[in-house]
Amino acid sequence: MKVKDVAKRWEVIIFLLLILEILLVGIFNSSFLNIRNILYSTTDFAHISLVALPLTLVIITGGIDISIASIMGLTSIVIGSTWSLGAPMPAAIVLGLLSGIAAGTFNGLLVANTDIQPLVITLGTMFLYSGIATGIAGSLGASGYNGIGNFPEGFLSFAYGSVGIIPSSMIYVILFAVFLGLILHRHRLGRSIYLIGVNKEAAGYNGIKVKKVIVIAYTLTGLGSAIAGILLTSYFTSARSDLGSEALLPAITAVVLGGTDILGGSGTVLGTFIAAFFLGVLKQGLMALGVTNNVSQVVIGLVLILAVAAKLGIARYRKMSGNKRISTE
């Protein structure tokens, strides 16, 4: 029971913070307190959530993936380029998805089979994937700010549609969150992820297929990035290699703020989901105050540093007071 309480505590806290935040923003901008508006504001952040959710799994295993933004761009370009070369839209989308998944799998294979740090590997692949995306875009004459456009109507509704008052993008996020949540919290794959994150060696000794689990975790991140890439392409009606280039910072912040330990071993999908929401509302709120997108980075950056520092500080404090009790010196 004690464990459940602890787990519940952080998600509840961040949820309460979210409510508080919405109310605060509402004070400055009364139109914000409309449910429709609140939900609409999530569309801006949907792509971050889509990436932060699977990233949670990767970070729980003790790893990290900084190539997510590049995979988004790569997916976008693959869709755009195959479309402009004459492929039917559904095929282009599928190809885009596959390329994102493949990118994630490649990351996972390298992480699982070498002792090179995940940070280093995904640094290299980030470079590689964004480079490939830029290269493909360039050879089709779509470099820089132009991108590839002229997509069919149906595709555009992907990002802009809605079911009732809930925007489609939020539905995708919720579906993905449910999917990942089920895996992480109810399936043995998720259990393996926690075991690996808490004690990778012990997991191996206990017969867990560590390599397989790691590959799957990174593949899921590739999938999330791919879906985010599709969403962004639809949202901007243009396929560009630099889509989502600013996503890394908010995504990692969402994961950490959601209660996941950056060193691995703990975290929940729900926490990340709420935290992403929190950051999305934060951005909206700042915008209402006249703070532009670019400047809100300062706030997000600070949130990241403070969240991690605070968690480390608390852990160290607990350890020290624990030691004081047992020490005989």
Binding site: M1, K2, V3, K4, L182, R186, H187, R188, R191, S192, Y194, L195, V198, N199, E201, A202, A203, G204, Y205, N206, G207, I208, K209, G265, S266, I326, T328, E329
Partner: protein
């Protein structure tokens, strides 16, 4: 002739001693590891410390070298009382500890490795180091990166570190456990040279033969007290071994002895054939249904490495392992568990238990596929967890309690429950009662009994010789990678097992 008579008088006054430790007490978590011990070291003397696991010799040396702080007592170096707060202060007083695992900076030059942390600048001491190295038989070029050194070379490098810091007292902690015979010989020649130059050397080892070869004096530590302190020339193996034995030899078996007559008829449940690896060689043995085969030995004997090779954690081995007649090719922990061989690791915290998760998660960590086809059936999982809590008498609030908050004994029970959950045919227990309180220990013995009643074969690796004798039907004694003796129930005496573990066959 009591044990007390064997302690010789200190023939020199404190001022003559190079080092004197008096009345040293040290406790960890209110368990006393050193109980008011005295020890001296003379100039030009090699003084060996001998004792079983947990006897306190390593702790004492770490206190001397500034890594740990004593709870009470005095340390006197060359007549002056000192108090070390950290290793650097010990260095300043001429004390250097050569750790069991040398601290190497692989990409930096050997020379730089040696002067790290000292006030000397690069290149200012090259000639001195070269000269000292030459005298130690150190042949490696100082400008090569330290990563090229073998373990023996790394040790010499650590000794050079001590020399550069003008150490007058050198402490060697189990220096020979990873060395080949030739390397040991070489090291001994160097140690003798150093001793001739007036250095005092503390030498910690498990190898009686080596101790008798190299030492001027030998002290035996048992349960935190020195029980023997004598000139090496006056000692032989027998005396050393009996000094290490507890006062009550041949403890009675609390539970009925299993009838050994029918043992040979029982089917073989696991057989190991000529297993060879880095830490062991030519290991061959069988385990029968319901039999407890004990493997006795000391640190460095290669027992844990053997166990890890059997279940496939270490893949660089040759030889065969067969379970119920079926040869296991391409072993790994997962397939071993499937075939019915489960390993309860020696290092519980590092390899056996998930400390920051519910104890339930550790219990079920090896049987995840069995918890449900698609999703984990929580109810089923809890049932398993609660079942084991009851069956093994694990003192906990329930399956949800975080493992870290359980006592050592209960943590061990959780690890064992994980093994039992697999429904194994063979359980390899590696130091199952290390860090476990007395009551839990008895519980674990009951559990083992229960397993053997269920026809499970047990391979018991333990440094607790009483434990091995109490539980085993047969004992294999392992020394430096080889099984040098097999003792049946009738031949089992604590002397036999102990001496074999220390390399002496009687």
């Amino acid at each position: 002739m009591g044990v007390e008579d064997q302690i010789s008088d200190s023939s020199s006054s404190p001022e003559d001693n190079l080092a004197a430790l008096k009345g040293i007490w040290k406790s960890f978590n209110s368990v006393a590891v050193l109980k008011g011990v005295d020890l001296t070291l003379e100039r030009g003397e090699i003084h060996s410390l001998l004792g079983g696991n947990g006897s306190g010799k390593s702790t004492l040396m770490k206190i001397l070298s500034g890594i740990y702080r004593k709870n009470s007592g005095k340390i006197i170096i060359e007549g002056k009382e000192v108090n070390f707060l950290n290793p650097s202060q010990a260095h300043e007083h001429g004390i250097y500890l050569v750790p069991q695992e040398p601290k190497v900076f692989p990409d930096l030059s050997i020379e730089e490795n040696i002067i790290i942390g000292t006030k000397y600048s690069l290149g200012s001491k090259t000639r001195e180091i070269e000269e000292a190295g030459r005298q130690l038989g150190f042949t490696e070029n100082l400008s090569r990166p330290a990563g090229v050194l073998s373990i023996a070379g790394q040790q010499l490098m650590e000794i050079l570190r001590g020399l550069l810091r003008n150490a007058s007292i050198l402490i060697l902690d189990e220096p020979t456990s990873t060395l080949t015979f030739k390397e040991v010989e070489s090291l001994f020649v160097q140690l003798k040279r150093l001793k001739d130059r007036g250095m005092g050397i503390f030498f910690i080892s498990h190898r009686i033969q080596e101790i008798l070869e190299i030492s001027d004096r030998v002290s035996v530590l048992r349960d935190g007290v020195f029980v023997l302190n004598e000139t090496a020339g006056n000692l032989d193996e027998k005396q050393l071994i009996s000094a290490m034995l507890p006062d009550d030899r041949n403890p009675e078996r609390v539970r009925p002895v299993k009838l050994s007559a029918s043992d040979m008829d029982k089917p073989v449940v696991m057989s190991v054939n000529n297993l060879c690896g880095e830490a062991f060689d030519g290991v061959t043995f069988d385990i029968r249904e319901g039999e407890v085969v004990g493997i006795a030995g000391v640190v460095g004997a290669g027992r844990t490495e053997l166990a890890e090779a059997v279940i496939g954690i270490d893949q660089n081995v040759t030889g065969e392992v067969a379970v119920q007649g079926e040869i296991l090719s391409r072993r790994n922990p997962g397939t071993s568990i499937e075939k019915g061989v489960v390993y309860v690791p020696e290092d519980r915290a590092a390899h056996g238990i998930f400390l920051d998760l519910k104890n339930l998660y550790t219990t079920t960590s090896s049987i995840l596929p069995k918890l449900g086809r698609i999703f984990i059936k929580n109810a089923k999982e809890r049932e398993i967890g609660e079942g084991f809590i009851k069956k093994l008498g694990i003192k906990t609030n329930g399956p949800d309690q975080i493992a870290r908050t359980l006592s050592g004994g209960n943590q061990q029970k959780v690890v064992i429950s994980r093994a039992m959950a697999c429904g194994p045919r063979v359980v390899i227990l590696d130091e199952p009662t290390r860090g476990v309180d007395a009551q839990a220990r008895e519980d674990v013995y009951e559990i083992i009994n229960g397993l053997t009643d269920a026809k499970v074969g047990i391979l018991l690796i333990s440094s607790d010789l009483e434990e091995i004798i109490r539980l085993s039907d047969r004992v294999l004694v392992m020394y430096r990678g080889r099984i040098i003796n097999e003792l049946s129930r009738d031949d089992l005496t604590i002397e036999n097992v102990t001496s074999g573990a220390f390399g002496v066959i009687q």
